[in-house]
């Protein structure tokens, strides 16, 4: 592949650039610009050093441990319990974020009232706030005597140090995803479509279900999947509020951390590999949904 790069970049006279119409073709025009070898070489070198070589250690480490050992680690009750909690809590958080994220996006796009721009800017706070800060703050709020926790305590509901707390933390860090994927789509949605539906006698609910919702669906699915993927790997905001009890409130990233602290690198890598494959599968779904929706809705 590298040779192809250099052929294309160094020989502007390559047969690729036809000029029958007197105008150079797109690819030929681009080849005139200098710096392909340098920028491409640096990009690949940097990616390899910073990302690809370090990541490949996971495969090397698990390849050395054998299938039997791998399976024993992955299928142990504590690991399975962690996967169950991580996947379950991440799904729950993504569902909450989808429902409320849709409402928030709707409000930000369609309604105007004082302070709404401030709210719009604040949506990205979970991206910008260090996760340990989010973790200690949410724990303080949702603990038994915290600002919110104290209202649930008399009802017999504990949030911090239970799986419920894990869901709260994962909801916080996934909050921007659905809002930010739905918002631009809702913005670009032509009012004419909804008006046409109304003209044809559709009720508000019918218009929403048959016209608006289908157009928003790819964005909602994308936001849902991104929030889910982010939640699966989340560590910082969860460790404080979860209480970290094995079998009960121990999420997968925390379990990996524990194994690393016990210098059980093989177990940590095996658990991480399964986790990575899950995340890659999710991002693959995002790409599928996006290409499907751009194919369908792009003008």
């Amino acid at each position: 592949m590298m040779t192809e790069f250099s052929i294309k970049s160094t020989s502007p006279e390559a047969p690729g650039g036809k000029h029958e119409s007197g105008r150079p073709s797109k690819s030929r025009r681009r080849n005139v610009l200098p710096g392909f070898g340098l920028s491409m070489g640096y990009t690949i070198l940097y990616l390899s050093l910073i990302a690809l070589i370090p990541l490949s250690t996971i495969l090397l480490k698990t390849a050395g441990m054998g299938w039997g050992r791998f399976w024993t680690v992955i299928a142990s009750p504590r690991v399975l319990a962690a996967y169950q909690l991580s996947i379950g809590a991440s799904l729950a958080a993504a569902v909450v974020n989808s429902l409320f994220g849709l409402a928030v996006a709707w409000m930000l796009v369609r309604y105007r009232f004082p302070g709404i721009r401030l709210l719009d800017s604040l949506i990205d706070l979970p991206f910008a706030l260090p996760t340990s800060v989010a973790g200690i703050t949410l724990t303080a709020i949702y603990a038994q005597h915290g600002w919110i926790g104290r209202w649930f305590d008399p009802l017999g509901i504990r949030i911090a140090f239970t799986p419920l707390g894990v869901i709260v933390a994962l909801t916080f860090i996934g909050l921007p995803f659905v809002v930010r994927t739905v918002q631009p789509v809702l913005q670009n949605l032509e009012a004419e479509l909804e008006e046409a539906a109304a003209t044809l006698g559709a009720t508000h609910l019918q218009t929403f279900m048959r016209v608006t919702a289908p157009a928003l669906m790819p964005a909602i699915i994308t936001g849902f999947t991104l929030a889910f993927a982010r939640a699966l790997g989340e560590y910082g905001s969860v460790v404080f509020i979860s209480g970290n009890m094995p079998m009960r409130t121990e999420v997968v990233p925390l379990l990996i951390m524990t194994k690393l602290e016990q210098f059980d690198y093989q177990a940590a890598t095996a658990i991480a590999l399964v986790m990575l494959m899950l995340s890659f599968a999710l991002l693959f779904i995002v790409n599928l949904v996006q290409s499907w929706s751009t194919g369908r809705y792009a003008a």
């Binding site: 592949m1 005139v32 560590y235």
Partner: protein
Amino acid sequence: MPPEEHELGSMLSGDSGWIYSLDPGERVRSATTETRLGRLLIIAAALLFLGVFLLIPLIAVFTEAMRQGVRVYLTAITNPEARSAIRLTLLTAALAVPLNLVFGLAASWAITRFDFRGKTLLATLIDLPFAVSPVISGMIFVLLFGAQGLLGEFLARHGLRIIFAVPGIVLATTFVTFPFVARELIPVMEATGSEEELAALTLGAGGWQTFFRVTLPNVKWGLLYGVVICNARAMGEFGAVSVVSGHIRGLTNTMPLYVEILYNDYEFAASFAVASLLTALALMTLVAKRLLAGQTHGEPFLPGKVATRPGAV
């Protein structure tokens, strides 16, 4: 970004929801606006959600930080351990951000200015850290440079220390933050196109001259936007850094790690005091993002979009 406020829209009204009837001043509801009840329900749900998950935590950080008074707060953020954590955080960002800035420029130049096979793959690779849990991001460097790691023996023989030391923290941070500048630059550079660069070349400018005099000025806002976001993440990264740091007080503690240590030592006020500095940084990042959003396309840090943005690849 939301459209300009509708001229006729008043409080709680739909953006394009109201039109004037023939009788001036009297309003009728257009067909596509929700009923008043529906509107109130949507706004109530949205505000409740944002209030509980964004506003209350934001207020709580500063309240908890000030709980034991200003003096405790000031001591907490100025004692030697806190200062060393602040220094290390600044140092880490000062190394990771420029590295990723140069990478971002190189990657976006290659991706937007040339056609080659494997371009989609390359764009996907740039998104890689988004698919990797922070803990795993730290772990891969332990597997590589740790005592039992692939290069562990070699490093030990030469007396070099990467894991549980500053280089490991910088490496892990660089890995976690490498996509940010590139992801912001790629769409901006794609949108700018290469006509002006070609004109400069035709007029006899050299490659670097063209790059510094034409390309950089054209993409400066997108570049700044990427740097701001990259910096916020570099200073705030917790999980990956936590794995490689070893939590050595005064030596390998960044601010987010120091927050954790204080909290685990039940020094809550001090912990929230340091956390409030990081929160202020996050808020400044949001303000910068808001200001720069007008200059650039203003899309937030959403992963999974470089590879799929139509036209970008």
